[in-house]
Symmetry: C2
Subunit: 303 residues, 2 copies
């Protein structure tokens, strides 16, 4: 009756090969547990788009720095199982820490450039840890599709690039941020906030909404967008506010194409992240910098 809990990569792979060889598609929702409505939206999408769906629960030590919150990260295994079963998840992959990182563990995935800015700047080994554990999860579950939330937009970009580069035959599906009614992006770490801090934390989504509004009104000056967001965040301990290319996570000279506006800030002892995405219309304004660079090219070649 209850959902099977699979502990080892080998048992997981046996399960998934049985599904695949029976012609079924397999969806994977990788999580660190502490499930909330954001994870639920990923699970529902996986259940509706695949014949069978796997939820993985593993609090990954490789993506926490020694001073970070690995020890107190929310572990709510029984509640997570109940939520997953209710949604129709077919198997839970919950490997142990010792089976995931054995003695002399030495193999790491890096996704150059995509992992460097934003959260990669303040958490230097974070995306190496993420890319490595996701590789391990992919190798164990061999899913057709894997589901991630836009809340971790840079993580999505890292994983999409890694999947493309390393020939994983997996469709990475990124789903929208789920927010509370007051706008706060859902996060397992919201549990850490006192009610006063929770009120303060609302500034993050409000500030990003202000930045989005500017972009929608045609603002393409990155400094101006970032400063407007920073102004709204004045009371918080800002980690970063940045407008970057949404796919490469690389800096832009001017806002154009698919843009990610992302911010991280500390509210008390809790680090929160949030973001909005916006696609600029290909308008006359887009032509400006290109026309400009053509002119410069001409000037150079005419010398």
């Amino acid at each position: 009756m209850s959902v099977p809990i699979i502990k080892s990569p080998r048992a997981m792979r046996q399960w998934t090969f049985e599904q695949r060889c029976a012609g079924r598609t397999v969806g994977l929702v990788p999580t660190m547990g502490g499930l909330h409505e954001g994870h639920a939206s990923l699970m529902r999408e996986s259940v509706s788009c695949n014949d069978v769906s796997v939820l993985s629960i593993f609090v990954n030590p490789a993506q926490f720095a020694p001073h970070e919150d690995f020890d107190r990260y929310p572990r709510t295994f029984e509640a997570d199982l109940a939520l997953a079963e209710g949604i129709g998840i077919d198997a839970v992959y919950a490997p142990t820490s010792s089976s995931m990182y054995g003695q002399d563990f030495a193999s790491y995935l890096t996704v150059e450039r995509v992992q460097d800015g934003l959260c990669g700047g303040s958490r230097p080994h974070f995306f190496r840890g993420v890319a490595t554990v996701v590789t391990k999860l992919f190798n164990a579950v061999l899913p057709h599709r894997a589901y991630f939330g836009q809340k971790d937009a840079q993580q999505c970009a890292v994983i999409k690039r890694m999947v493309r580069d390393l020939d994983f035959d997996i469709e990475v599906v990124e789903l929208p941020i789920v927010r509370d009614a007051d706008g706060l992006a859902l996060s397992s770490r919201n549990q850490y906030l006192s009610s006063a801090e929770r009120l303060e934390a609302l500034n993050l989504s409000k500030a990003l909404a202000r930045g989005l509004e500017l972009m929608q009104r045609g603002e393409r000056d990155i400094r101006r967008i970032e400063e407007a967001v920073r102004a709204e965040l004045a009371d918080l301990d800002i980690d970063y506010v940045a407008v970057v290319d949404a796919d490469s996570i690389e800096p832009l000279a001017v806002a154009q194409g698919n843009v990610l506006l992302a911010a991280a800030a500390h509210v008390g002892a809790t680090r929160l992240i949030d973001n909005v995405k916006y696609t600029f219309p290909e308008s006359a304004a887009d032509g400006f910098p290109r026309a400009d660079s053509r002119k410069r090219e001409y000037a150079i070649s005419a010398k």
Copy 2:
């Protein structure tokens, strides 16, 4: 009649899933072409131990430095195909360079420590390139077993560690070095040697045989073993001579357990590598350094 040549990861994976879902085991022999009797021994073993076998041929740009021999590396595709067919290979995976390393390629595998010494010292990005391309080949072919030659002993160690760490469900099989009658280890790069150089190159296997003889006679002093090998190599431009742990490729204080004695040297413009492995018997001598370090520990704690 002739062996199918598969060009894309997706087509490769489709082929392999058909095999796996029909209950067949899949062997993979990854090569850069330029096949010789060493590769043939890998293919024969794969054919005899698996229901179907894949030969991959891809000269991997990511494992060559700009000044190295990527451009002139032997490319003998038609002869390689004929050899593979004769041995009973069932499919050849021969992806194109542009499909393997697309624009903005950014994802690399590193296997810390194991990749650092020996060839990793003189070719800093070599094993990163190897581990990355092997990950791509594994993801495309999804084999049950993969075959590598001991000639590239450090490469074998890197790949075994990576497979264990990242939960690839693949048995890595390492087969002995195949040598010419005069002792020279077979290598695609032997084609570069003039007949005078070929004679010089024999010193490499002779010197390693001398080191092996010393170890077999009980020599455990690493400096003495390495110096004896270096003395025999006097005329060659030595890159390294090293005795290391055969699994971790890390330095040893004293020769014990599974040992790799490896050397690299330039003969004219050609860089050659060769090695021998030896397992020391667990004898009284093994106890010496341990007793020693216990004594030191005692001295420190007695302060």
